[in-house]
């Protein structure tokens, strides 16, 4: 991977994106499109997490803080100040990134790592949730509603396919960006920080700066997922924005798909989403059975594919090629 040319590096991403882009042509079933939009949204949030957690080795339990900030800024700028949706969306990403910078500065400067960093992010998300729930400006507990006005200039579309393409575009752009990062000095330094901080410092890597840059990027990407969520549902409240669900989904998909890989979050999101739909279809009417099944399969997956799905596929691939050898 280290010496591959640009075609080998970026080609597969574009190919996958093009293939996926055909989906609305192949099926007009909005059930599938809606499901895929949600999967892409989670893949986007997860890719954000992956930049910091997968490449930088800093596990966050509180990416909701970025998702929620992106969501709230996107929603509030429109609802309160009548700002154009696209501008609000961009501002949401910027605000999320800024929160990332601040959070990163505070915690990395204090030398927080591992479980401690994970916990501090969790706590930040919780503080934001409580504040958003209690502040009148955010609409308090009633949440904030973006005015329903389905026009392309409002980032609102009557067709699920358009949302799908936008989500796909965002995910693809970020994947290309992550691939570019992988192949840059910053990427090399970030991975060095993950592998061994002291060694990285000895080699002239400003580890604090690299980590802060990484969390800023990471936060911006996850905030984009939040902003997109708002445009898709036109509603946000404190529990949706800053609840633990998104923190968990965001970390789950890259880990399941393949940590620190460009495709990991997308593979994880599609797989987990598919798993959830499948268990739901199998489980029948007793509430909870489907999720219990989902949880069990998750545990089994970790037991038998500890390096994520990509690791599993690689293992199977190796097994096959060994099998073919004379």
């Amino acid at each position: 991977m280290s010496r591959s040319g640009p075609v080998a590096a970026y080609g597969p991403i574009l190919a996958v994106a093009l293939l996926l882009a055909m989906l609305p042509v192949a099926t007009s079933a909005n059930t599938i499109l809606n499901s895929m939009v949600m999967a892409l949204l989670i893949a986007l949030a997860g890719q954000g997490w992956n930049i910091l957690g997968g490449y930088g080795g800093q596990f966050s339990f509180g990416h909701a803080v970025f998702f929620g900030t992106g969501a709230y800024v996107t929603a509030l700028l429109q609802a309160r100040f009548g700002v154009n949706a696209y501008v609000a969306f961009a501002a949401g990403i910027a605000a999320g990134a800024m929160v990332g910078t601040i959070l990163g500065y505070l915690s990395f400067r204090s030398g927080l790592r591992g479980s401690y960093f994970a916990l501090v992010t969790l706590a930040f998300a919780e503080v934001f949730r409580i504040l958003a729930n209690a502040t009148a400006f955010t609409g308090g507990a009633a949440g904030t509603l973006v005015k329903l006005d389905v026009r392309p200039e409002n980032f609102q579309f009557s067709s699920r396919a358009v949302f799908f393409w936008i989500a796909l575009g965002l995910v693809t752009a970020v994947m290309l960006g992550v691939r570019f990062m992988e192949r840059s000095r910053f990427g090399a330094w970030l991975v060095a920080v993950r592998e061994n901080e002291d060694a990285a410092r000895a080699l002239g890597v400003d580890t604090l700066k690299v980590k802060i840059q990484a969390i800023t990027l990471s936060a911006g990407v996850t905030a984009a997922a939040g902003g997109f969520y708002v445009q898709y549902f036109l509603f946000i409240d404190a529990n949706l924005a800053y609840g633990t669900w998104i923190s968990i989904e965001a970390l789950l998909v890259p880990i399941v798909g393949g940590l620190g890989t460009v495709f990991g979050p997308l593979i994880g999101a599609v797989a987990l989403h598919g798993l959830a739909e499948a268990t739901k279809a199998i489980a029948g009417r007793i509430p909870g059975i489907d999720l219990a099944l989902y949880g069990s399969l998750l545990v089994l997956a970790i037991a038998f594919a500890p390096n994520g799905l990509q690791g599993l596929m690689a293992k199977i691939g190796r097994g096959l090629s060994f099998g073919r050898a004379p």
Binding site: A29, N30, N34, F233
Partner: protein, 406 residues
């Protein structure tokens, strides 16, 4: 635009089907072949709101059973109603995903939603297909104020309920000789609690009450001791709580432990005071608590029979059951009058509905901008282990105990 084309195509097929039924005009033949009308029942069956969702689903199912047993939709040749269940998983995303699935399964309308965030997302998703959506509970006023043509709310919204709560309180207090003057508001800081508290804070003083404290608490709360202590210190005549089930149970129990005994507890849209589980588990703490809430009409024979049926299943007759039961009947009436499973025609029929065959203490149904203006909340009071309607008198089955005897 793909979706719209798709929706239209499906509608045309349905129209053709209905037309065929009409031209044949032979009831006997048609009845044998009448295709069932699919109706979506969307409830949060899993997650935080599953208790309410399951009760709502039960109500809708019982209604469908009753409609089909009575011969189905007569104008469609006795077509049966077929429920397609959807689990909103207690989240807006879950609700949206299920609306998409229900729409793809060709339902003619959707009933349910329960929580406001779910209703907001689900009605919006349904509006893409001009799919009629009857909100069962979701009290957020914005659900019907967004101008969605497909959205109808059978039950009162929060501003209606709180307005009625205020009016009823004044009337109750006047009738008892104005024993209540000072009030402490306790509310959860969640979806409806804070808004309600704000309104009460503004309105109560205008009606002769003095709000001496407003105490917010989170959901879930782990401890209500402080709230009870503060109430004790303020010693109000009346406590007005609006909280979810668990928190109100904690509050009521803690108040009893701390020997805090106001002259009345007057709840608004309370999770517990209209819940038989609370009444059964803590008869002492629940005694004489008044709630302003959705409730069935206790004088309605159907409601009484239905309550027996539900309780025979070992379940509680929560208001969700009665509301969804009624909403489903309302929908069936609209389909009957539309004489079609076509979505647009059902919407038109709902818009002109005057349906009165429900089991709620409402007048005839009349939708204005999607809100049933005939809807009303009533006052219930826990009396000796049962929940009685005490106000308005037209629907009451017990007299109010107000103020509570010391």
């Amino acid at each position: 635009m793909t979706t719209h084309r798709f929706g239209t195509t499906r509608r045309q097929v349905l129209l053709a089907g209905a037309g065929l039924a009409g031209t044949l005009g032979m009831p006997g033949l048609v009845r044998a072949q009448a295709a069932a009308v699919k109706v979506g029942v969307l409830q949060p069956l899993t997650g935080a709101l599953a208790q309410d969702g399951q009760a709502g689903q039960l109500g809708a199912e019982l209604a469908i059973k009753a409609i089909n047993a009575a011969g189905g939709i007569k104008s469609l040749g006795g077509a049966k109603i077929e429920a397609v269940m959807g689990d909103a998983r207690s989240t807006p995303e879950g609700g949206t995903a299920e609306v998409e699935r229900l729409a793809a399964e060709n339902v003619s309308a959707i009933v349910g939603g329960f929580a406001s965030p779910i209703c907001l997302a689900a009605t919006q998703a349904a509006s893409r297909y001009d799919l009629p959506y009857i909100v069962d509970v979701g009290v957020n006023d914005q659900i019907v104020s967004r101008g969605l043509k497909n959205t109808f709310r059978f039950a009162p919204g929060s501003s209606m309920v709180s307005g009625q709560a205020l009016d009823n309180l004044v009337k109750l207090n006047d009738a008892a000789g104005k024993p209540m003057k000072t009030v402490v508001l306790v509310h959860e800081d969640g979806l409806f609690g804070s808004g309600l508290a704000k309104l009460l804070q503004a309105e109560l003083p205008k009606r002769g009450f003095e709000v001496i404290d407003t105490i917010a608490h989170p959901t879930p709360a782990r401890d209500m001791s402080n709230v009870a202590l503060q109430i004790k210190a303020k010693n109000p005549d009346l406590v007005i709580p609006s909280s979810y089930y668990g928190e109100f149970v904690l509050l009521a129990r803690t108040m009893q432990q701390q020997r805090v005994k106001p002259k009345g507890i007057y709840a608004v849209l309370n999770g517990a005071a209209s819940n038989y589980r609370f009444v059964k588990e803590f008869p002492e703490a629940a005694q004489f608590v008044i709630d302003t809430n959705h409730w069935y009409d206790p004088r309605n024979a159907t409601a009484i029979a239905l309550k027996k049926e539900v309780e025979a299943q070992g379940k509680f007759f929560l208001y969700n059951v009665a509301l969804n039961y009624s909403a489903m009947l309302l929908l069936a009436d609209a389909i009957e009058r539309a004489g079609s499973a076509d979505r647009a025609k059902i919407i038109a029929a709902l818009e002109t509905s005057t349906f009165g065959g429900h089991i709620m203490p409402y007048g005839p149904t009349k939708f204005v901008n999607g809100q049933n203006t005939g809807a009303a909340a009533v006052n219930t009071q826990v009396q000796n282990g049962d929940i009685k309607v005490i106000f308005p008198e037209a629907f009451s089955d017990a007299k109010a105990v107000f103020p509570v005897p010391a």
